[in-house]
Structures are given as structure tokens and as C-alpha cells.
Symmetry: C2
Subunit: 290 residues, 2 copies
């Protein structure tokens, strides 16, 4: 059962828009309030979800809601939190976000909101794609996705339980970890692959695009996320740069090793490197079985 009196979604892009669709489907009677910087973005949501309540300000969007979800790029979240802190809100308001970095987000938002007695707990649903915007939003985006919650010692257990129930009701597998552990994990499993997809694309095509007609599923899959929004990813990589750097330095040392192996035409070591990678990759369950 949904315990929320109303859900506010701030900045409905791909994730926020999908969240609005999923929440509307799952909780047909709960008010869904939407705010976006651009009025056209709110209008786009209202075309797909006529019952959604468009709001002209963040303060207006907070009216009567017990759950507010920040869906803008991470660098714009502190300003939004300031406006929530300045608004009249319900005493049980729980604020969360969907940002891809948690250490910097929690450190920035918690003090702003806690100072006004508002609870903040970070969330990171591992959903999305290389596309953006409400036009690509889907009600089933969160089905089977991992959602990483990053409570800390200040998080009230009841609020954490509500947040857990909310994401689970949208079909997520909910995991809990500290913000620091989150940033380590996603640097390896999300930010690193993103950057490697970009580097693979550059190394494949920057000097000469003539191999493009030969592309098959291997190239398409390996580089798909390189089509993601450069500005959004700049913000993510900046916020998590220490963990990302460590992952890239590991990638660099594996790459140097591989170049040396191929230079020496050392087939035994080449096969064992590929076999080790396969063994690790085989540990990753398919999406629905995860």
C-alpha cells in the first residue's frame, strides 16, 4: 500500500517522467505534482498524464506531498533543496533524489534540509538509457532495476522504510549502502563503462569513420551508452572523480598489460586475460534474474 499523501517530481526528464508514469500506474489515487524549469516540460508530462498537477514553483509543488523526488542533474540539486527548505511543507515530508552520485549529493543536501527538520535520504535507481526526456519515458523503466538507497546515521528508520517500500512498489530490487560505498560501486559498474564506451568510440572512429557500415551488435552494444547526454555525464564524472580516476587507472594498467601481451604475441597470457574477463562477466546475472 502507498503511504504517501502526494508525490512531487521535480524536473521530469527521462527518469522523472518515467517515475511519474510508474507512480501514476501503481498509485492511481495519489496526487502527483510536477515542477520543471521549463513550462513546456510540465506540459509534456500533462499530455501523457492528464491527472498530474503542474506547478509553477518548487514551493507550490510541495503542497500536501509527503515524498519529493529530485530528478534534475546533480549540479542543480542544491538550489532545488534550498527552495524546498524555504517552502511550507508537511512535517512528514521525505526528500530523495535519483542522482548517479551520492557522496557529494548527500553531503550537499542533507544539511540544507535537516536544518529545517526535513528528512533527506539519497536514492539511485540503476535505470535509464542513452536517451533523454519525457518523450522516451516508460512506466516500466524501473522494473527489475537495482535501486541503491544511501541512508546514514541521521536517517530515521521509518522514513527509510517508506522509501524502500516506494521503490519496491515500482518493481525495483532495493539495496542499501553508505554514500561512499555507493560511489565506489557505481564508479566501477556504471561510470567506468560509460567512459570506456566513449573511449572505444573515439579509438574506433575518430581518425576515420569508414568502418561504420561494418558495425554489428558487438560495436553497438559496447558503445551504446556513449550516446548519452555529455553535459549530464560531465556533472556525474566531476562529482565522482576520485572513484572514477581510480577505476580508470585500473583500466589503464590492464590496457598497458594487454598491449605488452599483444606486442610479444604471448598467446598463453592473452587467452588467460580473456578467460579471466569472461569468468567475471559470467558472474553478472541477466536483468530479470538479478
Amino acid at each position: 500500500m502507498n503511504q504517501e499523501t502526494g508525490i512531487a517530481i521535480l524536473a521530469p526528464g527521462l527518469l522523472g517522467g518515467s517515475l511519474a508514469l510508474a507512480a501514476r500506474k501503481r498509485f492511481p489515487l495519489t496526487p502527483i505534482r510536477v515542477w520543471a524549469r521549463r513550462a513546456e516540460a510540465v506540459e509534456e508530462v500533462r499530455q501523457r498524464i492528464p491527472s498530474a498537477i503542474g506547478c509553477e514553483s518548487i514551493a507550490e509543488c510541495m503542497q500536501g506531498v509527503s515524498l519529493a523526488i529530485l530528478c534534475m542533474p546533480v549540479q542543480h540539486m542544491p538550489a532545488a533543496a534550498q527552495q524546498i527548505a524555504a517552502a511550507a511543507v508537511r512535517p512528514d515530508l521525505l526528500v530523495t533524489d535519483v542522482g548517479s552520485v551520492k557522496g557529494s549529493v548527500v553531503a550537499a543536501l542533507e544539511p540544507i534540509l535537516f536544518a529545517k527538520g526535513i528528512t533527506f535520504i539519497g536514492s539511485h535507481p540503476m535505470a535509464g538509457s542513452h536517451t533523454t526526456g519525457m518523450a522516451n519515458a516508460r512506466a516500466d523503466l524501473f522494473q527489475h532495476a537495482a535501486c541503491l538507497l544511501t541512508p546514514d546515521e541521521k536517517s530515521p528508520p521509518a522514513a527509510l522504510e517508506r522509501l524502500r517500500a516506494f521503490w519496491a512498489s515500482l518493481g525495483c530490487r532495493v539495496l542499501e549502502m553508505s554514500p561512499a560505498q555507493h560511489d565506489h560501486h557505481v564508479a566501477r559498474i556504471s561510470h567506468l563503462p560509460h567512459v570506456m564506451a566513449a573511449l572505444t568510440t573515439l579509438a574506433a572512429l575518430k581518425n576515420d569513420t569508414s568502418p561504420i557500415p561494418c558495425a554489428a551488435g558487438g560495436f553497438r552494444d559496447t558503445t551504446r551508452v556513449a550516446a548519452g547526454d555529455p553535459s549530464m555525464w560531465t556533472g556525474i564524472l566531476h562529482d565522482n572523480r576520485h572513484e572514477v580516476l581510480a577505476a580508470l587507472q585500473d583500466a589503464s594498467s590492464h590496457l598497458r598489460e594487454l598491449i605488452e601481451i599483444i606486442e610479444n604475441d604471448d598467446l598463453t597470457r592473452l587467452q588467460s586475460l580473456l578467460a579471466e574477463a569472461k569468468q567475471l562477466r559470467d558472474l553478472v546475472p541477466p536483468p530479470t534474474a538479478a
Copy 2:
């Protein structure tokens, strides 16, 4: 219309098995002869294609066929070509292969077969997956795939036309290029992504597999091909090592540049690197539109 009197498929794994299924579907009346090193592999084909003719030797497999397709790992192709050269074959026999490297394959196979008056032209259907074996074979594997033919000055135009018609009839987009150009293109568009997927997997998970439960579509897609067969890929990377090395050195210099950008927290350059990768990736058409 199929002009072939019979089609021989040597070593029906994922590609050869899919080829047998596709040819059976497309040419219901053409004899399909199959040879494999292991008798069980032939049996597996005959369970899915009862009309396929299992053969105990390569010589037996050549009886009456006008098209023979080598589907074993590239390092085993010269030995198979020797056996074809030693067999009694039709004067119009055309031999091709499905190997992922063409310079070394054409250089090895052409002299063996031409010495006996047998035509060889290399093929490389850009199809397949990280799975292997007849169990994963599919009749539609070649639908919309690029198939790269690598004729040279010795290739008879009529044989090239037959080969082109054969692959087109299975649904391939047929492209022609020299063996050297092929090896350059696939180093960038296939071999590099394969190696980068393996390196991403190692950098993500070798020290610590605990991020695995957080994996989403980005990691799954970027690293999918790292689950491919290490022994087959060792052969491919060995055969094409000069082109692969050049591609890896480009990847290495892009990686060094990116590490420096992140160390300096240079957001302008970071965003422009990501934007350049996105611009290139956006040039790659989706599979069916290619």
C-alpha cells in the same frame, strides 16, 4: 534463385549452424552437407535439420557441392583447405569462410586451393554473439548483418557474383573490400570493442566483485562480448595483431588524455570529449536501418 548444386558447411558451431539453418530455410531443395571434427556436432545439426547430410570426412563432404563454407576457428582453416585441395571436387567449387580476419586467411588459403584450380574468396558475416555452438544457432542470425567479401585480383567475377548472391539471399548487406581494408575496419569496429569490453570487466570487477548486484543495462551492454570464447578470440587477435595494436594504442592515448582531464577537473574538455564520442556514436545506424 540459388545457383548452388549443394552447400558444404564445415564445423557447424554458432555461425556454421546458423548458416545451415538459414540455407535450409531459404533453399529447401538444395543438399546441405555437414562435416565436423566431432561426430556429436554433426548429430546436433541433424537433430535440428533432419535433411542435412552428415559426413565423416571433408573429402566426403565435398561430393557434388558447388559452395563450401569454412566455419572453424581461423587457425584451423589451412588444414581444412589442404583436405579440400586433396579431394575430388566439382570444377565450379567455390570455397569461402566466415573468419573474423581476412589478410592472414586469404594469404594462407588462396595458394592451397588455387594450386588445384579451386576458387577461394573470403567472407566475413558480421553476425554472431557471445554465445557459441549449434545450441544457440538461429536461422535469422544473418538478417540485416553486414557481410564483408574480400576478393582480390585473382577472384573470378562470376564466382564473386555467386558469393554475393548467396549472402544477400540470407538477408545480409554485402560489402566488398580488400583483405587489408577489412582487417583495418574490423580491428576498429569489432576487435577493439571486444578487447575494451574485457578490459572494462577486469577494471570493474577484478579487485572486488561486490558491485555486481548494482549492475544495470549500461554495464551489461558495454561488457556483453567479454563473455565470448577466449580461445576463439585469442586466435582472432593474434591473426590481426598489427591492426589491433594500432587501435589499442589509440585507445590508450585517449585514455591517458581523459585521465589527465579528470585529474585537472577540466570540465570544458571533459564535456567536449564526451560530446565528440556521442557525435561519432550517433553516426552508427540502428541494426535494421543499416
